[in-house]
């Protein structure tokens, strides 16, 4: 906390440098796209970025909480898959109403997250290992429920998926985008203005000092993993809306995309510094690269991972330079 205050007091620009770099990159990529391809400039392309990545955005917001405390959550991809599988199973096989299935999914996500948080707090198992176990556990549950994908044809889900919210002109967004933006707004508020948010930052800054200051570090740690679990479950539900199916193979490697987005968004992996807004920008950067490659048509999809890796490199080195100078 003290480091934060000092950084904020003396060098505010430094702290915002990664986020400004991400923003510049995003704007640059958009201008490049708009000048290269005629259709790219239409506002709907930007809105589609949100529509296509709404589920990922929600997952990455949860990941931001965890990374801010200096932890990591490797289970998110599996929890996303588990959510789609549970909702598919309950609605398709057992004929449950959509909202009951949604409630079950969110509860399961919260329980898994809380379980991993408890392992980390009570038994001092490292976050990397605890969430790795969670990852195998959730993916294993998926496969034991089903090895095949469910196609979901629930009336409520269909309505939710197909509802378009017009924004004037030809532009529209989906309900998923509204949900994702609400999650972002709530997360930004919690992190910036609540006691809980400040505790999250201070655990990432120095867990021991935070505890000595009398902050409820244990409770907060369990809470951030629970938040991440709920966000992953919600992300899985948004993926159900997007794909109208539940598949145990969903979200393989998603945790890495989420971590990459958080890092590109300027949050430092050792914790204590970063913003949810940065994560939004990080998701947008990854999304716009995908869109550019799709528009180009000559580049193969594997270039996405190479360019993402290169971007990760650039941003990590940038963060390294920034943090080195502030010390």
């Amino acid at each position: 906390m003290t480091t934060l205050a000092r950084v904020k007091g003396y060098r505010p620009q430094q702290r915002h440098l990664p986020i400004l770099a991400t923003m510049a990159l995003l704007i640059g990529a958009y201008i490049f796209g708009a000048s290269s391809y005629e259709a790219f400039g239409s506002g709907q392309v930007v809105l589609d970025l949100f529509i296509n990545n709404a589920f990922l955005l929600v997952v990455a917001v949860g990941m931001t909480f965890v990374i801010l405390t200096g932890g990591i959550d490797l289970s998110v991809g599996s929890v996303v898959a588990l959510s789609t599988v549970i909702s598919g199973d309950l609605m398709q096989k057992h004929g449950w109403p959509a909202y009951a299935a949604i409630a079950v999914v969110l509860v399961v996500g919260a329980l898994l997250g809380a379980g991993m948080g408890a392992l980390i707090h009570f038994f001092e198992i490292q976050p990397f290992i605890a969430t790795l176990i969670g990852m195998f556990f959730a993916r294993g549950l998926c496969y034991t429920i089903t090895t095949e994908a469910y196609s979901i044809d629930n009336a409520t889900i269909a309505t939710l998926a197909q509802t378009q919210i017009p924004l004037g002109g030809e532009l529209h967004i989906s309900i998923s985008v509204v949900v994702a933006l609400l999650v972002v707004a709530a997360a930004a508020y919690v992190l910036a203005f609540t006691r809980f948010g400040r505790t999250v930052y201070s655990i990432g800054g120095n867990a021991q000092s935070a505890m000595l200051m009398g902050l409820k570090t244990g409770r907060t740690k369990i809470a951030v993993y629970t938040i991440s679990g709920v966000c992953s479950a919600l992300g899985g539900l948004l993926l159900v809306l997007y794909k109208s199916s539940g598949d145990p193979l969903n979200g393989v490697g998603l945790e890495l995309t989420a971590i990459a987005a958080v890092v590109i968004g300027g949050t430092i992996l050792t914790g204590g510094s970063g913003y949810v807004l940065g994560t939004v920008l990080g998701i947008m950067v990854l999304g716009i690269i995908q869109t550019l490659i799709t528009f180009d048509g000559t580049l193969n999809s594997w270039w996405t991972s190479i360019i993402t890796g290169a971007l990760l490199f650039v941003f990590i080195v940038l963060q390294r330079l920034v943090t080195r100078r502030t010390r």
Binding site: E124, F128, T144, T270, N300, W302, S305, G309, R320
Partner: protein, 348 residues
């Protein structure tokens, strides 16, 4: 010290034995080993043979973790190494020369990738988990670039030797893994290297001030780890006669990290046990074989793996043991002892 080591390996060995005894009870023929055409076959041989790539990677990963690092990129290195070797073999006439060049190229590229990881960690001072995340993400793309997005199949007897061949009745994969294990053990335990690695893991700054070339050592372990992954990549692609840039070695880094942790090496660095990692890798491989041998649906492998690893991790967790002990010594109703001081969270 010896008692400590014994203690650390106790639970993983117990878990391994319990699994094997369970297998024996469930299917009495589990331990049967037969000699066919001068080659050994059987479930136990299978565990060793199929586990060889994981053992190799776990050995490399152990040294990386001993320096307080972690290498997430080994799965990508597996894919890249296999892809390059298969590309070369498929484009040249079959023969021992072609195979040797393919091995050389693949291991050379693995070496370069290890140097890259080492550069990021040792020279730029980037946290290992993010430094290796770069290659983990980009590596799959590179592997697909090498294979042009296709699955390259090869049909070369000499190439397949490294994965499924035999040398004096034993599968060659086992012998290679054993050779690397012996080499690494001798290097780290018969010279000061292991001690130096532990010193770097214990406190990189202090060991640098004490006159150790900690940056060079760090560099070295990442190169070694990538080389192990490269050899594993050759084995895996030789075993399936093909290179799949997308799926080869998928999640093997996680299995390797689990193996290392189950084997008693702490992610916080400073202490390691190569033998423990081999036992950890065998435990994970035995789980898979057990699931198949017992006729448990393969879908349950991951669930099974998660529960066994959770059990071993809990049993090894000092906090868990402390809580267990306290529960035993305190009768219900009595106030609990003062809570143990919380340790500083150190992320990998």
């Amino acid at each position: 010290m010896t008692r400590m080591t014994k203690h650390r390996l106790f639970w993983p060995v117990v878990a391994l034995l319990v699994l094997l005894v369970g297998d024996l009870i469930a299917s009495p023929s589990f331990f049967k080993i037969e000699l066919r055409d001068g080659h050994l076959y059987g479930n136990l041989v299978d565990i060793l043979k199929n586990g060889a790539p994981l053992i190799l990677i776990a050995i490399g990963m152990t040294l990386v973790i001993a320096t307080r690092g972690i290498d997430l990129s080994v799965g990508s290195v597996v894919a890249i190494s296999g892809a390059l070797a298969c590309l070369w073999v498929s484009g040249h006439p079959d023969g021992a020369g072609t195979t040797l060049i393919a091995f050389g190229l693949a291991l050379g590229l693995s070496l370069v990738l290890g140097v890259w990881n080492g550069w990021l960690v040792a020279a730029l001072g980037i946290q290992p988990i993010i430094a290796t995340l770069i290659l983990m993400v980009a590596g799959r793309g590179i592997a697909q670039l090498i294979t042009d997005g296709q699955i390259i199949t090869v049909n070369s007897h000499s190439f397949e030797w490294i994965g499924s061949g035999f040398l004096v009745t034993l599968p060659s994969a086992i012998l290679i893994a054993l050779a690397v294990f012996v080499l690494a053990s001798v290097l780290v335990r018969r010279s000061a290297l292991g001690l130096l690695v532990e010193a770097v893991g214990g406190n990189p700054e202090a060991s640098r001030l004490a006159g150790l070339r900690s940056a060079r050592l760090t560099w070295l372990v990442y190169v070694f780890c990538a080389l192990c992954a490269g050899i594993a990549g050759l084995m895996i692609s030789a075993n399936v006669h093909s290179a799949d840039g997308n799926h080869a070695g998928l999640f093997i880094e996680l299995d390797a990290i689990l193996a290392v942790v189950v084997g008693g090496t702490q992610l916080t660095g400073g202490r390691f046990s190569l033998g423990g990692s081999v036992i950890g890798a065998l435990l994970i491989q035995t789980l898979t074989t057990t699931v198949y041998a017992l006729g448990i649906p393969p879908e349950a492998i991951m669930l099974f793996k998660a529960l066994v690893v959770l059990a071993v991790c809990l049993l090894q967790s000092p906090a868990f043991r402390r809580k267990l002990r306290r529960r035993r010594t305190h009768r219900p109703g009595q106030p609990a002892a003062t809570p143990a001081p919380e340790k500083v969270e150190v992320t990998a």
